[in-house]
């Protein structure tokens, strides 16, 4: 159970607060409701590049990290297809420093050509390091456009190509800031050991004078229902073949979201999951095999990723996985197996409540798509999943016409 209080400033900024008296370290988390899905298709990777620029100084503060480190703090951020999330951890007694820093960059970023020039290079190196210079690094650059034809989930957060990052201009930076970095479009969440009134006071002092900028209304074309199986074959210089199968699934708010998540656990959570037991241990046809969901706010993906052992072709590997998926339709899952997976989720959710940073991040995220208190209903949503719901959702999810298959072949085998 995570208790929280919230309020809204007149400029639209939402603030969520959780008090934790046991920890001297506060977490200060700012979520901006903007991600790669909001990018111009000709300027992809921009939300993430912008995240880097947010550390390049604001109109009144030249150096973002220095004063924070001086106060004993640390900061970082991440960008996803849905959101951009910035966080700081620092001693509760210096929490006001975080308010000062975060509010100044929301108030007005320093649009600085030098910072853009440098961060473009840094992000291009990040692109290479994570996506191009790693075995299997380009999988998501291939799989996304295979699965999504219309919706902007068709490109990865790093961007569709390096060219887009090279082309970013300072005017794009300004426009993006005024369009998306507005109080109305952001959620501040804090987990700390301070009186609630103190949080209200700091929030008002530092954030309330920031102008309420124009509201951004998201208007994305939904991905049309997929009508036939799609396949892509590539050959790469990797030591092992790999197979990826992605199915379209419900969004984070959807009724079947938790069911699909449980299905992915049933298949591949730990060494008692079906994949490990059956296809890695008893009939060892895979080196690795896992199932996971992307958890995105618009309709997302259920993904299966595996590397077959030498001597098992990608086609044979596909058939083995397919047989496992078909089992959901022909057999109702047993109560004990279902309960086991629910128990595991219960304990994982409890473990996630251990740190202030996790709590602050989760509260902001729930506030975005549901309500900060929704975090406390999460387990119930899993608990209520029945074996017949598993069967119903699996049948729909794993329909062949809903599948996108990437055969990633090792060129060394050729």
């Amino acid at each position: 159970m995570i208790q929280s209080k919230k309020f809204k400033l007149s400029n639209g900024l939402r603030v969520v607060y959780h008090r934790d008296e046991s920890s001297p370290v506060a977490a200060f988390n700012m979520l901006y409701d903007v991600g790669a899905r909001d990018e111009n298709p000709k300027k992809t990777g921009f939300a993430h590049l912008f995240e880097h620029l947010m550390f390049g100084g604001s109109s009144n503060i030249v150096d973002f990290d220095g004063p924070l480190q001086m106060a004993g703090g640390q900061s970082n951020a991440f960008t996803s297809n849905d959101i951009t999330n910035y966080y700081m951890t620092l001693p509760s007694l210096n929490l006001e420093t975080a308010f000062w820093l975060e509010s100044d960059r929301l108030n007005l970023l320093d649009f600085n050509q030098n910072s853009l020039d440098v961060q473009r290079k840094v992000v291009i190196e990040e692109f290479k390091q994570r996506y191009l210079n790693q075995p299997y690094g380009d999988v998501w650059l291939l799989l996304r456009p295979l699965c999504y034809k219309i919706h902007p989930y068709k490109w990865a957060t790093i961007g569709e190509k390096i060219q887009h990052i090279e082309d970013a201009k300072i005017d794009d930076v300004k426009a993006f800031f005024f369009k998306h970095y507005t109080p109305r479009n952001s959620i501040l969440s804090i987990a700390a050991d301070l009186e609630f009134e103190k949080i209200q006071e700091f929030s008002n002092k530092w954030f309330s004078s920031i102008e309420d900028r124009n509201e951004y209304t998201r208007c994305l074309s939904p991905e049309p229902v997929q009508l036939e199986k799609r396949e892509l074959r590539v050959e790469r210089n990797v030591p092992n073949d790999a197979l990826y199968i992605a199915f379209h699934m419900d969004n984070r708010m959807g009724e079947d979201y938790h069911v699909a998540d449980l299905i992915s656990d049933i298949l591949s959570r730990g060494k008692s999951g079906r994949f490990y037991k059956k296809l890695i241990r008893d009939n060892p046809k895979f080196i690795e095999l896992s199932a996971f969901i992307m958890g995105s706010l618009d309709n997302g993906l259920f993904v299966i990723a595996g590397k077959p052992v030498k001597g098992t072709s990608l086609e044979a590997a596909y058939d083995l996985i397919r047989a496992e998926l078909d089992l959901f339709a022909s057999e109702l899952i047993g109560e004990r197996e279902l309960q086991k997976n629910k128990n595991k989720i219960k304990s994982s959710l409890t473990f996630q409540e251990m740190s202030n940073l996790n709590k602050a991040m989760s509260l902001a995220y729930y506030e975005l798509f549901d309500s900060s208190s929704g975090i406390n209903n999460e387990f119930l949503k899993y608990e209520n999943v029945s074996s017949s719901a598993i069967k119903r959702v699996a049948e729909k999810l794993f329909s062949e016409n809903n599948s996108n298959i990437l055969y990633y072949k090792s060129a060394k085998d050729a």
């Binding site: 001297p24 001693p91 420093t97 092992n240 052992v309 219960k346």
Partner: protein
């Protein structure tokens, strides 16, 4: 009027005194440290063995022993232990590094008795089925081949191999190490190195002290056996090496630059080097990050680590850079190392880094699990939690002059070794 240009006043950081754990020995002398400080109904029980990878000349053996722990026992077949633990929502985690092996259980407090019974069965009636071993070996070998495609991995392995030439820390792996490992060998290794003389136990979370103690004492307290560990010879220097490994078609080069430093854990120079290393490359605002990333955009990230194994301490800088920028990056790294010996650290930077370190220390003891983790690392070194306060206090007293002398003593540029793995040598 709001003063946006000026930082709100910050308070000096005081590291709160952390209470030492209650330590109660079991009947056979095994020490158990209790940190009963949680607010959530969770518990972590960790068995720590003072024996690491260095106890075998083939590190695949201790790795397999650790990874496959809990696969089966004489009462439960392959996979049944995992099935039971999963049913209780518990997590079994094992790990092994150069000096320590560990077996951990995380559980909801309500299930801890059942979960511990499963753990003790795994511990005392352990079986390594050959089939599971064979699968582990062939899959690990394939994963290793995949790792060898990464410039970062090849750089790491090559660097360690040369830094610790002819020493067990070099942990050179060859493909043949994965062959012919038998259940018997693993069983024997387990029996020799996971024994009651080399173990200590740390419990953290929220629980009933006496019932947990009884549960541990009724099982672990009856455990008999002796230590056969071998001492690892200390190593305080290495020959200087400069190597380039060509990885055709790579887009980026991985770079490692470092050296063994002859300092003892907890000595005065040890603390100075901790601070010096942080300034150089130990945090986001470090000199290496500022220069190579924030000024020149050569890399996504660069860091410098000061690592202390039981038998050696060393400094290593590592980064991955654009292939064409390799020589400029290497040059800049040496110039930052050199600057430490030639120029006093100014006061503002010094205070900032000291505060950063104090804040980091606070973060490392945030909550019962993290406190237990620190305790584990410290007690392996023969220290108590009070060491953290001492660490902080000593760091705060270090002056710019101290750092300059320390840099002159340990950080002369020509004493460093380097490995570059990348597309082609353009020197």
């Amino acid at each position: 009027m709001l003063k946006r240009k000026v930082s709100p006043p910050t308070k000096a950081l005081e590291l709160k005194k952390i209470k030492e754990p209650e330590i109660i020995p079991l009947d056979n002398g095994i020490e158990v440290a209790f940190f009963n400080l949680g607010s959530q109904d969770l518990i972590h029980v960790e068995l720590i063995f003072d024996n690491g990878l260095t106890q075998s000349s083939n590190i695949i053996i201790p790795t397999a022993v650790s990874e496959l722990f809990g696969t089966a026992s004489s009462s439960f077949g392959s996979g049944e232990i995992a099935e039971k633990l999963d049913f209780y929502g518990a997590f079994l985690e094992t790990s092994i590094n150069k000096d320590i092996a560990s077996i951990s259980i995380y559980s909801l407090t309500e299930h801890i008795d059942d979960v511990l019974n499963i753990l003790f069965d795994a511990l005392f009636n352990l079986v390594y089925p050959q089939n599971d071993i064979d699968i582990f070996l062939s899959n690990s070998l394939q994963k290793l081949k995949s790792e060898l495609e990464k410039v970062e991995y090849v750089c790491l392995k090559t660097f360690n191999q040369y830094l610790f030439k002819d020493h067990l820390y070099g942990d050179v792996i060859s493909f043949s190490d994965f062959e012919n490992i038998s259940s018997k060998q693993l069983q024997l290794y387990f029996k020799s190195f996971y024994n009651p003389e080399d173990v200590s136990v740390v419990v953290s979370g929220k629980f009933d002290n006496s019932s947990l103690y009884n549960s541990l004492n009724n099982h672990l307290g009856l455990w008999k056996g002796g230590s056969v560990k071998k001492n690892i010879p200390s190593i305080d220097k290495s020959e200087i090496f400069k190597l380039f490994v060509t990885k055709t078609n790579a887009l980026q080069s991985a770079i490692r630059i470092g050296k063994i430093v002859p300092v003892k854990y907890g000595s005065v120079d040890y603390f100075k080097l901790k601070l010096l290393n942080t300034i150089l490359g130990g945090y986001f605002g470090s000199r290496l990050m500022s220069n190579l990333r924030e000024e020149k955009g050569l890399t996504y990230g660069i860091n410098s680590s000061f690592i202390n194994y039981d038998a050696a301490s060393f400094v290593v800088i590592s980064t991955t850079v654009k292939g064409e920028s390799t020589s400029i990056a290497v040059k800049e790294i040496y110039s930052e190392i050199d600057r430490l010996s030639n120029q006093l650290v100014d006061n503002e930077e010094l205070i900032l880094v000291k505060n950063y370190i104090s804040g980091s220390l606070m973060r490392t003891v945030d909550g019962p699990f993290l406190i237990a983790e620190q305790y584990k690392l410290l007690s392996h070194k023969g220290e108590k939690l009070a060491y953290l306060e001492k660490f902080n206090a000593v760091i705060q007293e270090i002056t710019s002059d101290d750092l300059l002398q320390c840099a002159v003593k340990y950080f002369s540029v020509d004493s460093f070794s380097e490995v570059v793995v990348g597309p082609k040598s353009n020197n």
